[in-house]
């Protein structure tokens, strides 16, 4: 809004300069006057079309133009008339002071105002006015002009900062509201999930209860039926456990992040073919995409263990390390001698390669340690993303 207002002011000032140049009639150096009007028109047009950000080069150019206008006014207006009649420069240099104030605050506005004030003095000298022998009224006029520039720049700087601050407050309040809404949505989702799971747990319990009594009454129990009951109970236990682990209590989820521990724990609970323990040094909040990729990599590693290792158990361990994260998947299986090149030649490395690919996509590395008879350890190391650490 502020910058649109300044643009409008520029165009009005430019129009005023043109009107003045055409009506004054008695301008000295008409060519210089025409060239100056052209430069101001081009600059204003560019600012309007390109809407450049107020970088230092843009600000410097604008201030230079304001200074030049004050000087040219002195050169093109009839000698000794600058103080009495409206400036050839019009209000245009004020736009520079105001722009500096808007972009760089009170300090910027005041500095630009002082520079423009100094160029006023230069303009007077160029107009052939002998300041040393001038009347006090002329000098006061000059000081007043300088003060106008400084006040305009400083005041706009103040307003701009106030606007920025309230915009920041508004943004923070909005973010807060969005977060609160997200929390509420998560809670609602959790509740509906809890209801579903409670329902199925109750059903399973009722069935275990009923079938248990029937089996007990029937005398000797076929093992298959007991195993069926146990599997049903285990399934419900897994569902309940993953619900509990979905979100660690008391810890709010950082925006866009997920807990690696929670993801690994649900993965381990869902693994039916192998007992898997999960250890983590904390919740390990990472960007949600990282958690997804790492969990997928660990799932593949576990699949590999189930298929090839002949292990009785596996352990997944995740820890923070220099802001990054290290995940280890270890099994107590038969192990093998890991030689990437040989395995590659024998075409046996498909899965390991896919795990490696996932980790490398995150800028990480994979290392495999294994010896025949001593199990296998797969280490996935992913560095912290710089932009994640910076805020």
């Amino acid at each position: 809004m502020l910058s649109l207002g300044i643009l409008a002011f520029r165009w009005v000032s430019l129009a005023w300069i043109v009107v003045l140049a055409l009506t004054a009639g008695s301008l000295r150096r008409p060519a210089l006057a025409a060239a100056t009007v052209a430069v101001v028109a081009v600059w204003t047009g560019w600012l309007t079309v390109a809407r450049p950000r107020p970088t230092w080069p843009v600000l410097a150019g604008d201030l230079a133009l304001g200074v030049a206008l004050n000087l040219v006014a002195g050169l093109v207006m009839p000698a000794g008339t600058v103080g009495e009649r409206p400036y050839f420069a019009g209000g245009y240099p004020v736009a520079a002071a105001v722009t500096w104030g808007a972009a760089r605050g009170v300090g910027g506005g005041v500095v630009a105002g002082l520079v423009l004030g100094a160029s006023l003095v230069a303009g007077q000298l160029a107009n052939g006015i002998d300041l040393a022998s001038s009347e006090p009224a002329v000098l006061l006029d000059l000081a007043g002009g300088t003060l106008n520039f400084v006040l305009a720049g400083g005041a706009v700087g103040l307003v701009a900062r106030l606007l920025e601050r309230s915009a920041g407050q508004l943004r923070r309040a909005t973010e807060e509201t969005i977060r609160a809404r997200e929390r509420a949505a998560r809670l609602a989702e959790r509740e509906s999930l809890a209801r579903q799971i409670h329902d199925s747990v109750l059903q399973a319990l009722a069935l275990v209860h009923k079938r248990g009594r029937e089996l007990a009454a029937d005398g000797p129990v076929p093992p298959g039926q007991v195993a069926g009951l146990a599997e049903m109970a285990a399934g419900q236990e897994r569902a309940l456990r993953s619900l509990i682990l979905r979100e660690p209590e008391g810890e709010p989820t950082p925006a866009g992040a997920a807990s690696l521990r929670a993801a690994l724990e649900s993965l381990a609970t869902a693994e039916r073919l192998l007992p898997v323990t999960v250890g983590a040094t904390g919740a390990l909040w990472l960007p949600a995409g990282h958690v997804e990729e790492l969990t997928a990599a660990v799932r593949q590693a576990l699949d590999n263990v189930v298929e090839h290792a002949g292990a009785t158990r596996a352990a997944v361990f995740a820890e923070e390390d220099a802001g990054g994260v290290v995940v280890t998947v270890r099994d107590d299986g038969r192990g093998f001698s890991y030689d990437e090149r040989r395995l590659l030649a024998e075409g046996k490395i498909g899965l390991a390669k896919s795990i490696k690919g996932r980790v490398e996509q995150l800028g990480g590395t994979m290392a495999v340690t294994s010896r025949p008879g001593a199990g296998t350890e797969v280490e996935l190391r992913v560095p912290a993303r710089k932009d994640q650490r910076d805020h």
Binding site: E237, R241, I244, L245, P248, E249, G250, E265, T277, V278, G279, A280, T281, G282, R313, A314, A315, F317, A318, E319, E320, T328, R330, D332, E377
Partner: protein, 206 residues
């Protein structure tokens, strides 16, 4: 002694333990307050307890039981791995922690080992403890030595004490000592915490 508020679960645990022929259940309790009383009367070698208990919470019951009879070992058997609770239980004197989904054989094994003075660190507990020490590093808390950290990390990766001993060229007994020292440091850190708290309160009052 078995402490749990679900009678069916208590029965199941008692059956599992006694069927092994290596453990005798001398008492049962259904809540925290009862656990403190029964432990005083029955003088068990080991208390196997849930953390989620009525009347007195599990962690507080453990603290009181260990305070009254320091030789009693406590093994936590809990349904959910609530990080804060488990760490707090270990800090007040529990020697180990087991998930309720552990098999009967694992349960008996852990009970026998803890009774013999061997801390039962599950991989997940080892990871939690490692994280706790990492958070405490930089404070005045007693930290872990490089060797202790190494041992703890291997436990977290699921290695048995025997496997760790082989890998680090140590005796199994030395590895156990390291784990015991880690536990002692963790319990010490809580005492420091309490002391600092007391000092702060005392200073505030003057």
């Amino acid at each position: 002694m078995v402490v749990d508020d679900h009678p069916v679960w208590r029965d199941g645990v008692r059956t599992d333990l006694e069927a092994s022929g290596r453990v005798e259940v001398v008492a049962e309790a259904a809540d925290g307050g009862e656990a403190i009383e029964r432990a005083r009367e029955a003088m068990p070698e080991l208390v196997l307890m849930d953390l989620n208990l009525p009347t007195v919470p599990g962690v507080e019951a453990i603290r009181r039981i260990v305070e009254e009879s320091p030789h009693v070992k406590v093994l936590v058997l809990s349904a959910s791995a609530e990080e804060a609770d488990v760490l707090e239980a270990v800090k007040v004197g529990a020697s180990g922690y087991l998930l309720k989904s552990a098999t009967a054989a694992e349960l008996v094994d852990a009970v026998v080992r803890v009774r013999a003075g061997e801390p039962a660190f599950s991989p997940s507990l080892a990871a939690l403890v490692l994280g706790e020490f990492r958070r405490m590093s930089g404070t005045s808390e007693p930290g872990l030595t490089a060797r202790e950290t190494e041992v703890l990390r291997l436990v977290a990766k699921g290695y048995t004490y025997k496997e760790i001993a082989d890998q680090l060229f140590l005796s199994t007994k030395t590895v156990q000592n390291h784990v015991q020292n880690i536990l002692t440091k963790l319990q010490l850190s809580r005492r420091y915490e309490l002391m600092r708290y007391a000092i702060r309160r005392g200073l505030d009052r003057t």
